[in-house]
């Protein structure tokens, strides 16, 4: 009896889907969502300034904190991800084991627990400020996810490329830097973009550390005014607007980088 093997690849990102230029369904969905969000926020603020304008005025420093945490932790995550990704394909046993263990451990612990751990548990030993703790936790967590993305991206480059590069006299690190990584980057960008958006959304978790991000500011407003519906509606819309803009930027970048595939 012959067993029939069927392999299907399902591509699912945990972040907001980046619309592909060829995908007109998603493309128009993006416009519907984008215009709808702008229209909603505009309508609420202009025609119902009380309380929506007050809420909007309460949030800007929170938005700033959210961006700070997002950008700092994505930088940390990219560095850690690159190191972890290289470690996973490294022939150096120790480096490989260290990178793999890091990824396994971090991926097995919920982000919320990591945040609590770094802030409150390790807080007894090292006194990290709240923002730094948030950035470290987010960076380490997403670094592990990025590590897998980098590994897959590097692996996707045909082995012939490195063979050719090595035979031309480049050493291993030069091959990685000048030949493999620049090509891998194009494969890596879409999933990294997804992680970026997912990270931005997950920064809402840092409000648990009393970091005054968008969500914490909103909760403070709601707890004092009892306007729960109004506050959380606006907060959801603001997050949506930010992620929609980001996903558009990323899809444009991706389009530019896919020049060779389009030719």
């Amino acid at each position: 009896m012959q067993e029939q093997q069927q392999t299907t690849t399902i591509e699912v990102g945990d972040g907001a889907a980046i619309p592909r230029s060829s995908d007109t369904g998603l493309f128009s969905a993006w416009w519907v969502a984008f215009i709808g969000t702008i229209a909603m926020i505009g309508y609420l603020v202009i025609f119902k300034p009380d309380p929506y304008l007050d809420i909007i005025k309460f949030l800007p420093d929170g938005i700033l904190v959210t961006f700070q945490v997002t950008i700092a932790s994505i930088c940390l995550a990219l560095v850690l991800g690159l190191v972890a990704g290289l470690g996973r394909i490294s022939k150096n046993r120790l480096f490989n084991l260290a990178a793999s263990t890091y990824i396994e451990v971090i991926r097995g612990i919920p982000l919320l627990v990591q945040l609590f751990y770094i802030y409150f548990a390790l807080g007894r030993i090292v006194k990290v400020p709240d923002l730094v703790a948030a950035i470290i936790a987010m960076g380490f967590c997403y670094g592990a996810y990025m590590g897998e993305v980098f590994r897959a991206g590097i692996k996707s480059i045909d082995h012939g490329q490195s063979e050719a590069s090595l035979s031309l006299g480049f050493n291993r690190s030069q091959t990685m830097r000048y030949v493999v990584l620049p090509q891998a980057w194009r494969t890596i960008l879409p999933p990294v973009g997804n992680e970026f958006i997912a990270l931005l959304k997950d920064t809402s978790l840092v409000s648990i550390l009393a970091v005054s991000d968008i969500l914490r500011r909103g909760r403070e407003f709601a707890s004092e005014s009892f306007l729960y519906f109004e506050t959380y509606t606006l907060i959801a819309l603001i997050y949506l607007l930010i992620t929609l803009v980001l996903s558009k930027i990323l899809s444009t970048m991706e389009y530019k980088l896919s020049y060779y595939e389009r030719r």
Binding site: F120, G123, R124, K127, P129, D130, I208, A210, S212, R216, R219, E220, A222, S223, E224, F226, Y228
Partner: protein
């Protein structure tokens, strides 16, 4: 036919059962506020407030059911009818009165300022430019916000603020005085102390928050509170939980 008959009987039984039983009032409690309401080692809801309300229920003839709920959102849950009342050290304020009804006051508190042992601060004004923590949406947090120059920091639970103060990330915590006493004289007695009871703040009273317009529950709760006060049981509870 038989099925229908059984169903009717069952329904009748169910209804009559409900009519015979005492009125059930569900109270939301944020059990992170020792000694007023908290979870003991057996994960049981205990404290001054729950004891008080259980006694009030007995006196007024209703069944008190306590439901552990997170503080942030506790008022939203009341407005949307997830429970009938809040028995969770809710201070009666004018702003809150607009959003909900309150029972007669059952406990008097002030806001206390907790600082590390080594601190010389005697009031919130001494802490200008520094971070002071409180639980989100509490009168303690509002007291911090009212002082210009102090950086307010809101926590989900007062215990997290205390831990941050203990570690040294913030300069002080403001909360209700019985809770402050519990932390500064028991859990963190080696590191923290009560610097002052905030003078600028008014005396506050705890009341049971009840959904606006729910007269039936309000009357029952008030009746219970009156009875407890008359019996003197509240003094006993004071001794038991607060030690005064």
């Amino acid at each position: 036919m038989i099925k229908k008959l059984i169903l009717t009987i069952l329904l009748l039984l169910a209804f009559s059962g409900q009519c015979l039983a005492e009125k059930k009032i569900v109270f939301a409690v944020d059990a992170t506020w020792p000694p007023m309401e908290f979870l003991d080692h057996d994960k049981k809801l205990v404290g001054f407030s729950t004891d008080y309300m259980t006694a009030a229920a007995k006196a007024a003839g209703f069944t008190a059911v306590f439901k552990n709920v997170a503080w942030d959102g506790i008022f939203a849950g009341l407005a949307s009818g997830k429970y009938d009342a809040i028995c969770s050290s809710v201070s009666i304020t004018d702003k809150r009165k607009k959003a909900m009804d309150f029972s007669t006051p059952y406990f008097k508190v002030r806001q206390a300022l907790i600082v590390p042992k080594a601190s010389t601060a005697k009031s919130l004004e001494d802490l200008k430019g520094q971070k002071v923590g409180g639980q989100i949406g509490t009168t303690g947090y509002f007291a911090i916000k009212a002082v210009k120059g102090v950086k307010p920091k809101s926590y989900d639970e007062v215990g997290l603020a205390m831990e941050d103060l203990n570690v040294g990330r913030i300069a002080a915590v403001v909360c209700d005085d019985p809770v402050a006493a519990n932390y500064a004289m028991d859990k963190y007695k080696d590191t923290l102390k009560i610097a002052a009871v905030i003078e600028s703040g008014d005396v506050e009273y705890y009341g049971i928050a009840i959904k606006k317009g729910n007269k039936e529950v309000l009357d029952l709760v008030n009746k219970g509170i009156e009875a407890v006060k008359k019996s003197g049981y509240d003094k006993e509870l004071n001794k038991k939980w607060i030690g005064q």
